[in-house]
Amino acid sequence: MTPGSPPAEAAPPEAAGTRRAAALRVRAGRFPWPLVVPALIGLAFLVLPFAGLLVRAPWASLGTRLLLPEVRGALWLSLTTATAATAVSVLLGVPLAWLLARTAFPGRRLVRALVTVPMVIPPVVGGVALLLALGRRGLVGGYLDAWFGVSLPFTPAAVVLAQVFVAMPFLVISVEGALRGADRRYEEAAATLGASRAVVFWRVTLPMVAPGVAAGAVLAWARALGEFGATITFAGNFPGRTQTMPLAVYLAMQESPESAIVLSLVLLAVSLGVLVALRDRWTGAL
């Protein structure tokens, strides 16, 4: 190949990109109103309620309310339990997603439906179900209590379990979608080159679906952070032990809406901060 005369069909990628963009511009011609208008209405619908919160927030007393020890306790508990719940969801959810996406077994459709059940049932019912299963009179919890003297309800561990129950399905769905979208030929190539199943999973499959795992983990974390119904039912509500931010917000609402608004803004600011920071750092592909 002589320098200075690149073959026409192998144009540099930037040139091809520019040409495609130009073609799109020419073809579309006008501003895409049919998409932009509903998009803006959708955005306004999602953002407007927060504007309502901001307008009604008691800005003058914001500082003193934030320094209350109950607020800091609830925030700390929320952040730690949501992170723990996300870790558990990843550890158990990724293999579960792999099972659903990469293996064939009888009743797989039913299993997939079961995995999404916690997304559909009201979280309060999920909390009652957890009590019936893991409570001290529960199906499994009864034995935990009798054999090991372990009682889960009303402990921080119960908060994490409630969050895992509602959040893990989001991770499983996200990772399963990524696995189905990934090109299986890379895995097959690795296997034909002598890699064991475990090596293929760790070195090929997992890196390929990493953006899906990250997206799923972010979704799960966000869901766990906002979790209310299953938590208050299964873990109860006690400041410093099981009272997470959403529980604190709900109870504050009974007495002073201003306090509830302040707590909500704190939760909002912290979660937005974490999500934006994470997005830049390791979920660029989202």
């Binding site: 009652v128 001290r136 208050i232 039912t233 109860g236 509500n237 109870l251 504050a252 609402m253």
Partner: protein, 250 residues
């Protein structure tokens, strides 16, 4: 606020001014009653009889925690009548200028100790709840049953470390029904309505009873009908229904 609470407590089921048969309202109307969740069973029964006595009228209920309903009314929810589970909550509506006239107290509810059937922890009175080996659920102090429980425990000089401060009285009762706690302080009416629970009365409950006030709302779409409802709730027939459900009638 304390003065208003005292007034509400004193008012009792006195006749509401401008009673009458609600003739000013046209037929085919709907009376909207917002009421504390603990009134669900009794109000529904009273609603059926009210509809029978007022042909062409339909009674619709919004049952929820009193504080929640108060917040909705203060934000402009279109209701005719509000019945709250304590004076403090009614005061927040009255102070915002959203009641028409003085709220009247129509029933009173007292606390009991609810224990799972068979009373596995062997609870006999309030003092037993202080035992660290006994798992106790209380209502959070933000809701009426929690405020009453704190008052009763203070009066008895009993210090309890609960495993949970529940968001409402039904949630506390559920924890007892499922056997997840050994005891909870709930209303007598909830013990009677609950499954698989037993109630243990205690002396200090009398000093921490909740008065239930009811009021016609300032923005009531059917004020005449609303006054009829308040009169009906205060009538001897209705008071019998409340007594059967475990309330103390006025």
């Amino acid at each position: 606020m304390l003065v208003a609470a005292a007034l509400a407590a004193l008012a009792g089921c006195a006749p509401v001014d401008g009673g009458g048969a609600g003739g000013a309202d046209s037929p085919g109307r709907t009376l909207t009653v917002f009421a504390a969740a603990s009134l669900t069973g009794t109000f529904e029964e009273l609603g059926e009889r009210f509809e029978r006595d007022h042909p062409g009228t339909e009674v619709e209920f919004g049952f929820a925690g009193s504080s929640q309903l108060a917040a909705q009314i203060n934000e402009g929810a279109p209701a005719d009548v509000f019945a709250s589970a304590d004076a403090r909550t009614m005061d927040s509506v009255a102070e915002a200028g959203n009641t028409a006239g003085e709220p009247v107290v129509f029933v009173r509810n007292t606390l009991e100790i609810a224990v799972p059937r068979g009373n596995p922890a062997g609870i006999t009175g309030l003092a037993d709840l202080a035992d660290p080996g006994v798992a106790v659920a209380l209502c959070a102090e933000e809701v009426p049953c929690g405020a009453a429980a704190a008052q009763a425990l203070d009066a008895a000089g009993v210090r309890v470390t609960p495993v949970s401060l529940e968001e409402d009285v039904k949630a506390a009762l559920t924890k007892v029904e499922l056997g997840e706690v050994d005891a909870a302080l709930v209303y007598r009416t909830d013990v009677l309505a609950g499954d698989a629970v037993e109630g243990i009365p205690f002396d200090e409950a009398a000093g921490a009873a909740n008065d239930y006030p009811i009021a016609v709302l300032a923005e009531a779409p059917h004020p005449g009908l609303a006054r009829d409802w308040v009169d009906w709730v205060c009538s001897a027939d209705a008071q019998r229904v409340f007594r059967d459900a475990g309330f103390t009638a006025r």
